[in-house]
Symmetry: C2
Subunit: 301 residues, 2 copies
């Protein structure tokens, strides 16, 4: 089952050096989940050939503009392009008010429904579930209420052994994949474990946008396969990071190490860094399996 | 005196084919005036090496998103980049409410003052004046209240004849340029017309964003040197243009012809047109001196 994320924006605060503000597109089993939506996100989706119309779920971490100023434009374009299926949006409660006032004064009545789910930033709770995954919030520590998100795949079915499929009537596939033995009309028993192999372990992706390094959220993201963590500054600017409630590259790597992540993606880079190699090396010095979450890169989770 | 406009966006409704939504930067005597501000305008300014920090005046024609969704991001970035000088914004009265709600929920107190001047869309009035130009509104006919803008240069001073400047003490330059003869201490008279030539004629630029072809605004834009006029559709879609309160390329050219413009810029192209040559040719068939107002082009006005 596909489980990958494409980075649409890696810049903090302002767009610079061809870096766009925060946005990521998660593809889980060919369903699209948008995580944050900085200005220009719809242009980035077009650039990377990702159809905005396929997005059905949007998660906004907080109301700093670099994480949501592109949302109103994206929603408007979907309307103008004829969307009729609902859009589910999860975000801080005032986000809806911000969207509605803009639709009101442009005299826009959307052709499709927005289903809005306000997030409370002071508790880590499950906010979404479908057959593929659950989404839970992470309580982050930023200047305004901010949550991260954990996308946790569900336990998946066992996999049919391809070479044996022609020995089994299709009607029994579902049971066998669920681990259930089946009895044929002639009394023979087909044992699930003879015809299937273990399911892939369900994977999880944690998205920690703007936050102070704060051990209170470490438990929530424990043992995640891939951790995206902001790394706005180099560690020589630790005081600046603290003042602005951000994290350094070194600290992001420490979070990955402490919480047992398998892979770390760092992003949300300050505009003071024209190139990112130093941030990458700083994080990698603490946590080997680090990658730069830069525009256009797709990571298998 | 410099009087030129750089096109930052030429797309109607949604960004497509590398065309951005409406925005133009007017440079008059090295002062920057931003006209409309679709999503991604700050990125466009960077792309074309135009310093956003130099913009002191912003004019928003109406509250359809393709004309202002980039404003909140631009204003935020200026704040984050340390701006302290005021920004004057002219636009529909509800624009301020839309900006303020977003600053409120991001807990942002701008470091610089916004001086907001609400525009009434039902009368054509002068809304701005400085030593270089005046700005007057144009009552357009669109689905929501919409105004265009006329940027009218002021009558300028006569020009000193370079070869003769060393014959005249500098203290008299100002008077001579104003057309005033001066008397030297020895009683000699310096006649302005001997030392100066006629000033260039003051020029004007009319910006007609979204509108129906409607002769009621023709008087306001009469005899403008350069007319920017929206040309959303080809004329075979005249009915669609009427329904959506837009103009065809042919009609835009007729407006230029009827009102006595010297040059016509057309823009605000529908996303149905991947290439623009047909729109250009349609307009040019009626009005020879037509240009496509596309991203990155700068026009001397």
């Amino acid at each position: 089952m596909k489980f990958e994320v494409t980075i649409l924006g890696s810049s903090s605060a302002t767009p610079v050096f061809n870096r766009n503000p925060s946005a990521q597109l998660l593809n889980c089993n060919e369903k699209y989940y948008l995580i944050d939506c900085g200005e220009g996100t719809q242009q980035q989706l077009t650039k990377y050939n990702l159809k905005a119309s396929r997005i059905d779920y949007i998660f906004i971490s907080h109301l700093h503009g670099d994480h949501y100023f592109g949302l109103i434009g994206l929603l408007s374009s979907l309307h103008l392009n004829g969307r009729i299926k609902p859009m589910q949006i999860f975000g801080p409660k005032h986000l809806l008010e911000i969207l509605e006032i803009q639709f009101k004064y442009s005299d826009t009545v959307l052709r499709y429904p927005i289903e809005f789910f306000p997030i409370e930033a002071d508790k880590s709770v499950q906010i979404f579930e479908n057959s593929d995954l659950t989404v839970k919030t992470i309580i982050l520590n930023h200047r305004i209420p901010t949550t991260g998100f954990i996308f946790q795949q569900k336990k998946r079915q066992r996999k049919l052994i391809k070479e044996k499929t022609d020995q089994v009537p299709m009607a029994y596939y579902t049971s066998l994949k669920k681990g259930i033995d089946v009895e044929l009309p002639n009394g023979d028993i087909l044992r699930s474990e003879d015809y299937t192999t273990e399911a892939d372990a369900p994977r999880c992706y944690a998205y920690c946008s703007d936050t102070l390094f704060d051990e209170r959220y470490f438990d929530t993201i424990k043992d995640c396969d891939t951790l995206y963590h902001e790394a706005t500054f180099m560690h020589d600017l630790l005081e600046r990071a603290k003042e602005t409630h951000h994290t350094t590259a070194l600290q992001a790597a420490e979070v990955a190490k402490i919480t047992g992540a398998k892979k770390l993606l760092i992003g949300h880079f300050s505009s003071r860094y024209k190139t990112l190699q130093m941030l990458f090396e700083e994080a990698q010095s603490v946590f080997e399996n680090t990658e730069l979450a830069i525009e256009g890169r797709t990571f298998q989770l």
